[in-house]
Amino acid sequence: MNAQSRTKAPAWAIWLPLVLFVGFVALVTIGLYRPADRAVGSTLVGKPMPAFVLPAALPDRPGLRSADIASGKPHLVNIFASWCIPCRVEAPQLGALARAGVAIEGISVRDSSEALNGFLKENGDPYQRIGADDDGKVQLALGSSGVPETYVIDGKGVIRYQHIGEIRPEHVPMILEKLREASQ
């Protein structure tokens, strides 16, 4: 930078910031819309799930034991709560999976049976069993740090896939594929 000179910056230099900025916008647009797998992988994937026994959350169906899940056929284990908003968002997708014949087990975290009943009435009820995880211990043991999270667990009780956050409509085929892989 020769400050003594009085010559103006060349015309292209004046446009340079704009050109660089357009490059930045192009780059982040690609980054934003590229379907990237942002999920945080749990170290538990590929390992057997921890053993647990949860009491029934509702009087009309049994609670959930790890032995129920490791029963020879793949299961979907959904960690949810009536007070969780993304859980409402994913309910239709769980319903669709249940209608497709998927065995779905629920773990309801810190909930009351009345609130749970209301939630299921309003949003549909895809669960075979629902275990009440009142202190969140089982949730933590499964390596889950929030609701909703959903696990694909094969017939031997090995965790094959962990889905963090709500299941969106575009995730359903992927979940079905994971279940198919788990049954082989």
Partner: protein, 659 residues
């Protein structure tokens, strides 16, 4: 009810921002000059309404109104009140509302007090401010309504990330936001000046307090954020070159450059286009930083924290605002008339050099932050860390620090090194002594060695501008400059010592056993459970002693478990002495009843943040000095105007007097 009131205020504020933009633009276009009169009052009312909306949000958080979706998602009835209130801005929607509130209020203040600039420039500035605000209002009202209701009402809220349940952090984001938004005012001034082609000392003086204010808040925000990461994350480090940290550093670098070029423009009427450019860049960095953090494009956080729709919205705002401003700059910069000339060896020359160095560091940080994205676009996953940032940054930081030591002694326009050469002898000798000392100690890396030596030299040189001055009559801005530059030396000394002399130890010991780190003797006395309002913890009682004869002091690091939402954090224990800090973290329990302890002795590490505070203090003194002299000038002008008016009245009265 409170939520609806807030939403109504928000809609009204948005509508007024639209009116402000429209009236300002029409008045500038020469149509409806009567509209020009409403722009200032509208800007003031818009700011007040935004404030009302924000206060409503704080109210619903304070009473934990779980029928408001945002409260249910981010708060919990068991949380302490101060964190309930902090929860109002500890989330995406609330922080965006805080953003528009501060921006609206800043616009209101400009409308109320700024009378130095030609009226068209003010109209363009306020219209620009309204344009930027309008984008954020639209974002809030369309894509992230903070007042949305939820039915049925949940029994309990989801809680707030326990890492964020910390007093320092509760006030850290708003501090940074004040900085970001202050830069938006500088941005609007730059737009206003480009529209009317009025770039000159008056423009620089109008813009300077806002840049200074923003820069002070950014400095404090970065300092506090760094200290938070240091004691809360429990990793012993104070800067990780994490995208979120870089997002706050980049606006600071740009604002630092802008601050100095604005001074050149105000004092010497030089660097016109460059200052306007930096005004645009500084706010652009704020927006880009916000985008990078909010869109989740760089940090792979929990999947449901990432919302592509939100990311797209901020990206669109960014593209319109910054793209528009840069286009305007490219079209107008050629027609902004040239500023004054100056020699290479002069105060201006040094400031220009450091502006270029700061911009280069900014470019390096920006490139390093974005590089993972570039790589990902080409199909590779990489992360960029200290091995890139430290040496690349130092490449430009070292010459910048040398010029920083010399520059303040140079005269404006033209100077020569022989004139100031004698004053530089002692700083140069200090640098040499520092280098020799570090080499003699041995085993110290090249960056800490350079940093240590430069810190000594700069520390001495930074106070030289006071030499030969009457200290009582020295203007506050000069004091500010000296203290801020001295703060850089202090901070640099802390960084170098931390890097060169830290001692780390990881041990597993039983209760009753002793260990040591650096000069400290440490005994694990007991480990006991503790309970807080929304957490439980294991707390270790450590009895520590400095040297063989020091007093025994107790420190208590904790391993905390929060239950809403469930999360583990480690609360490190810090013991500060004049020459450093002892840092202890409690890890897990091993099978045989032994406890993991992580211990550090970090000599002079507090200087890093003390330096940060000094830098901000320097900025504050300069701001007070500038505002005070501005006010004095305004009062003097009004007095003169008043006297003239009186004289005219008297003369008229005399001439009209028939006697």
């Amino acid at each position: 009810m409170t939520a609806e009131l807030g939403l109504a205020a928000l809609w009204l504020a948005a509508a007024l921002a639209g009116l402000q933009l429209l009236a300002g633009a029409l008045a500038l276009a020469g149509r409806g000059t009567s509209l020009a009169g409403i722009v200032r009052p509208v800007a003031v009312v818009q700011g007040v309404l935004a404030l009302v909306a924000f206060l409503c949000l704080i109210a619903v958080f304070a009473e934990t109104d779980l029928s408001v979706k945002l409260v249910a998602m981010n708060s919990h009835s068991l949380k302490p009140l101060v964190f309930k209130i902090a929860g109002a801005w500890g989330n995406h929607e609330g922080s965006m509302l805080l953003w528009v509130t501060v921006m609206g209020m800043a616009g209101g203040v400009v409308a109320l007090v700024e009378r130095r600039l030609p009226e068209p420039t003010i109209l363009a500035t306020l219209a620009g401010q309204a344009f930027v605000s309008l984008g954020f209002y639209a974002f809030l009202l369309i894509a992230s309504n903070p007042f949305e209701r939820l039915f049925p009402v949940p029994e309990e809220g989801n809680g707030l990330n326990p890492l964020l349940q910390d007093l320092g952090l509760a006030f850290h984001p708003p501090t940074l936001y004040l900085g970001y938004v202050g830069l938006s005012v500088a941005f609007s001034f730059a737009i206003g000046a480009l529209v009317t082609r009025q770039v000159g000392p008056a423009f620089a003086r109008a813009m300077r307090p806002w840049v200074l204010g923003a820069w002070i808040f950014l400095t404090l925000g970065i300092t506090a954020g760094s200290y938070w990461a240091y004691y809360e994350l429990g990793w012993g480090g104070w800067w990780f070159w994490d995208p979120v940290e870089n997002a706050s550093l980049m606006p600071w670098l740009a604002a630092t450059a802008l601050l100095h070029s604005v001074s050149v423009l105000a004092a010497r009427d030089a660097l016109r286009a460059w200052t306007v450019m930096l005004g645009v860049v500084a706010f652009s960095m704020s927006m880009i930083g916000t985008f990078l953090v909010r869109s989740g494009i760089l940090t792979s956080v929990h999947a449901f924290a990432v919302d592509p729709q939100r990311g797209s919205f901020i990206l669109a705002l960014l593209a319109i605002n910054i793209g528009g401003a840069l286009t305007l700059f490219a079209l107008r910069a050629g027609t902004v008339t040239e500023g004054e000339r100056f020699a290479l060896v002069s105060r201006e020359g040094a400031l220009v050099f450091n502006n270029v160095m700061l911009s280069a560091i900014l470019g390096i940080v920006l490139f390093g932050t974005l590089y993972p994205l570039v790589a990902e676009a080409m199909g590779a996953k990489v992360s960029v860390g200290p091995p890139y940032f430290n040496p690349m940054g130092a490449l430009f930081a070292v010459p910048m620090l040398v010029v920083l030591a010399i520059g303040p002694m140079l005269r404006w326009r033209r100077d020569s090194f022989p004139r100031i050469g004698r004053q530089l002898v002692i700083p140069a000798m200090l640098v040499g002594a520092g280098l020799i000392a570090m080499v003699a100690i041995g085993g110290v890396g090249i960056l800490p060695t350079l940093g240590f030596a430069l810190a000594l030299g700069l520390g001495w040189a930074s106070v030289l501008p006071l030499k030969g001055r009457n200290l009582r009559r020295t203007p506050l801005p000069v004091w500010g400059m000296v203290i801020a530059h001295f703060g850089i030396a202090v901070s640099l000394l802390g960084m170098s010592c931390e890097s060169a002399f830290s001692v780390e130890k990881l041990v597993a010991i039983k209760t009753g056993d002793a260990t040591g780190v650096g000069p400290w003797q440490i005994k694990l006395d007991a480990v006991q459970p503790m309970a807080g309002p929304n957490w439980t913890a294991l707390e270790a009682r450590l009895l520590v002693r400095y040297g063989d004869h020091g007093k025994v002091v107790q420190i208590d690091p904790q391993s905390r478990s929060f239950w809403a939402p469930p999360q583990q954090t480690s609360e490190s224990a810090l013991l500060t002495r004049w020459n450093g800090q002892l840092y202890a973290v409690l890890g897990g329990e091993a099978d045989d009843g032994r406890w993991q302890l992580r211990l550090w002795w970090k000599p002079f590490v507090p200087l890093i943040w003390l330096g940060g505070v000094l830098i901000a203090l320097g900025g504050l003194l300069a701001l007070i000095g500038r505002v005070a002299s501005d006010l004095r000038r305004i009062f003097a002008r009004e007095k003169i105007a008043y006297r003239r008016g009186r004289m005219a009245d008297l003369e008229r009265a005399q001439s009209e007097d028939p006697s």
